[in-house]
């Protein structure tokens, strides 16, 4: 038992499996993430890099990320797509941890890996440790960073530095100094806590390995079996399946991709286009006919009125002429 414990440190075991498994799963998880982004199910604002790291380390963060978002009221992205992506990552991580675990057990620990369930066994331990440790790590690193930033501000304002520069520390130097101080402290704390977390995981994996028997082959035999473990039984089928999946992904992607930019500039925003009403030729003809009839009736009425007015004028002309002659006849 002591010899087994001495053979490889828990940190090396934890890091060796976690690093390989995270990178094994991320190409598949990235496809899901892109589909969710294209559909508009998830939006990453300023924290795209952090969201990527959370997805990369999803064996650890699958339940830790929601816990951190709930406890610290912080967000890595908006939309229903984020929990969907993390949910989809569970079977991917179980597969990746199983594949990496089996090859790691054989090649590095020289142990016969368990036939079934290794992936799930490592996955639930990783998720549990992540859920317990990640929120604590987040809180400590945030607090340490906050304190370090204010300490570095005070350091930059030190009187001693004013002797070097008459007007106090210049902006670029000040930023460099402050960043070096708080960045180093924050990075060191993050590194130490991460190593502790990975070491705890490594110890949990080592306990699984202790129950496994020693692999019987010599080194060449081990490498051959390790190599064949990583190769699918039917390579042709796998390649055809991947090619098919690629074609399907491309078709779906181009179908759902927005044709116009989702972020139009103010200068070039298109006006809202309202759909024109359906043109009905019979109705239009009837309308025009009615209009024509109404206009014709109006014209007729106007002509009639005109002729009446003219007639009245002529009658009116006769009367004043008679009145004028009768006026003229008066002395």
């Amino acid at each position: 038992m002591a010899e087994e414990r001495d053979s490889m440190s828990p940190t090396k075991i934890g890091f060796g499996i976690l690093w390989s498994a995270c990178w094994t799963g991320i190409p598949i998880k990235a496809v899901f993430a892109v589909m969710a982004m294209t559909l508009g199910l998830v939006h990453f604002e300023g924290r795209f890099g952090l969201a990527f790291l959370m997805l990369l380390a999803s064996p650890v963060t699958v339940f830790a990320a929601p816990a951190i978002m709930a406890i610290y009221d912080t967000h890595f992205g908006e939309g229903i797509g984020l929990p969907l992506i993390f949910g989809a990552s569970i079977p991917i991580d179980i597969w990746a941890l199983g594949l990496v675990g089996r090859t790691f057990f054989l090649e590095r620990l020289k142990k016969e890996p368990p036939h079934d369930g290794l992936g799930f066994a490592i996955w639930w331990r990783t998720a549990l440790i992540g859920t317990l440790i990640m929120p604590i790590l987040w809180g400590i690193v945030s607090k340490v960073t906050e304190t370090a930033i204010s300490a570095s501000h005070s350091l930059a304002d030190m009187e001693a530095l004013r002797h070097i520069y008459d007007t106090g520390l210049p902006v670029a130097e000040r930023i460099g100094l402050e960043l070096t101080v708080w960045g180093s402290i924050s990075s060191a704390v993050l590194f130490i806590l991460s190593v502790i977390g990975v070491s705890i995981l490594g110890q949990a994996i080592r306990r699984i390995a202790e129950d496994c028997r020693q692999a019987p082959e010599n080194y060449q035999g081990l490498v051959t079996r390790w190599d064949l473990m990583r190769v699918p039984n039917d390579q042709g089928l796998l390649l055809a399946s991947l090619a098919g999946a690629g074609v399907v992904f491309s078709l779906v992607f181009w179908t759902i991709l927005p044709v116009t930019t989702p972020h139009p500039h103010e200068c070039c925003a298109k006006p809202e286009v309202q759909a024109e009403p359906v043109y009905k030729p019979v109705d239009a003809l009837n309308k025009n006919t009615q209009r024509l009839a109404a206009v014709a009736a109006q014209v007729e009425a106007m002509e009639k009125q005109k002729s009446e007015t003219k007639g009245q004028k002529e009658k009116g002309k006769g009367k004043p002429a008679g009145a004028a002659s009768s006026d003229n006849s008066k002395p």
Binding site: A30, T38, L179
Partner: protein
């Protein structure tokens, strides 16, 4: 029938299909099978590795940049009057134009990141040492071409950011003694930046640099095949021999996965942050604070230090420092003659690499923080 003299490969009564006949015709005249064997059956000591994928990824990114760049050229007009409007047209009126332009934009950043990763891997693995000195030198030239690609392409949208960032870069080059004025005038196409500048940057970006990159990349691959892969820097002879792989299918599979991941990553970046132009370029920067592309930000911040103030300081920072650094890189295979390749047994190399990476990261973040002071 005498079994010894019969050919085991001949299947009796087998009639070759049309495709087999065509392949046999081409093979007889071009030596296809021999070419295929040489290209694909290359042994990789110590086995295929994910660390070796960056070279193929760079080729893939260049191919994608060429494809998207060609599509953009259908609509882009390289004149000072129409460059901005044609770019806005691509973004707002061409179907999927916004995505193609954003993919092209993020692809340039990906190329710089992968070049750094590839150079770091070669440096840390000691794969620049004898007999791979020429390979290293050609690689440095390719690095310079990639950076120049980013510099020339940045101007083409002709908005305030593009115009003033390029002007800042050209002004830095102007500080080079003796040839600085000539270089600056050549790039600007005259005393002041304008139409001539755009024309020259466009020709450099779409004709001269792609031709140079293809030629040097071909030479780089040829030299790599002549020298053969260096392999891992640790492990016993037995371990390395036991794990020896061939280029096909293992390394090719890893390269394909790497390329697919980069493709998906660039799609995600294009969706997350599509290209958004500022106002059209004007002779007055106004409220805009000129700033180069993100991979030059560390250097931009470095030059803000008081250490590089004044004429002498500016010369030291803008000219002498980068020339000395590039000179060291060029001379590296010739003064580092120690055959040891294990990075953990080369403390100077390891510490130098860590220091450079930390300085780049530190000053890049400092430049981002500095924006708040300027605003």
């Amino acid at each position: 029938m005498d079994i010894k003299h019969s050919s085991p490969a001949v299947i009796p009564d087998h009639q070759p299909s049309t495709s087999e006949k065509v392949l046999a015709f081409l093979d007889e005249r071009l030596g296809l099978k021999e070419m295929q064997a040489k290209m694909l059956n290359e042994p990789i000591p110590g086995g295929s590795r994910w660390a070796y994928v960056f070279g193929s990824i760079l080729l893939f990114i260049f191919a994608m940049q060429a494809v998207t760049g060609t599509m953009l050229m259908f609509y882009y007009v390289p004149t000072a009057d129409h460059a901005y409007d044609s770019t806005q047209y691509i973004i707002h009126d061409v179907d999927y134009g916004w995505f193609l332009l954003s993919y092209h934009f993020w692809g340039s950043s990906a190329m710089v990141v992968c070049v750094f990763a590839h150079m770091s891997q070669v440096f840390l693995w000691g794969a620049y040492k004898k007999p791979r000195e020429l390979l290293w030198l050609v690689g440095l030239a390719l690095f310079g071409i990639v950076i120049t690609f980013g510099f020339t392409g940045y101007l083409l949208p002709w908005d305030q950011r593009a115009f003033w960032a390029t002007l800042v870069g050209v002004e830095i080059l102007d500080k080079t003694p003796i040839v600085g004025d000539f270089i600056a005038r050549f790039l600007k196409g005259g005393a002041s930046p304008g139409q001539m500048t755009l024309s020259r940057f466009f020709v450099l970006h779409v004709m001269i640099l792609p031709a140079a990159l293809m030629a040097l990349a071909g030479l780089h691959i040829f030299l790599f095949r002549v020298a053969a892969p260096a392999g891992p820097f640790k492990g016993t002879t037995e371990e390395i021999k036991a794990k020896t792989d061939y280029f096909f299918p293992r390394q090719i599979w890893k390269d394909i996965v790497g390329m697919a991941f980069v493709f998906v990553g660039l799609c995600a970046l294009a969706l997350w942050e599509p290209v958004v132009l500022l106002d059209k370029a004007t002779p007055d920067p106004g409220e805009y604070h000129p700033e180069p592309e993100w991979y030059f930000l560390f250097y931009f911040q470095l030059l803000r230090l008081k250490l590089f103030a004044g004429q002498f300081g500016q010369f030291m920072g803008a000219v002498a420092l980068p020339v000395i650094f590039m000179g060291l890189l060029v001379a590296l295979p010739f003064f580092d003659k120690d055959p040891e390749r294990n990075i953990f047994k080369r403390p100077i190399a390891l510490i130098s690499w860590i220091v450079i990476m930390v300085v780049i990261a530190l000053f890049t973040v400092a430049a981002v923080i500095n924006r708040e002071f300027l605003d």
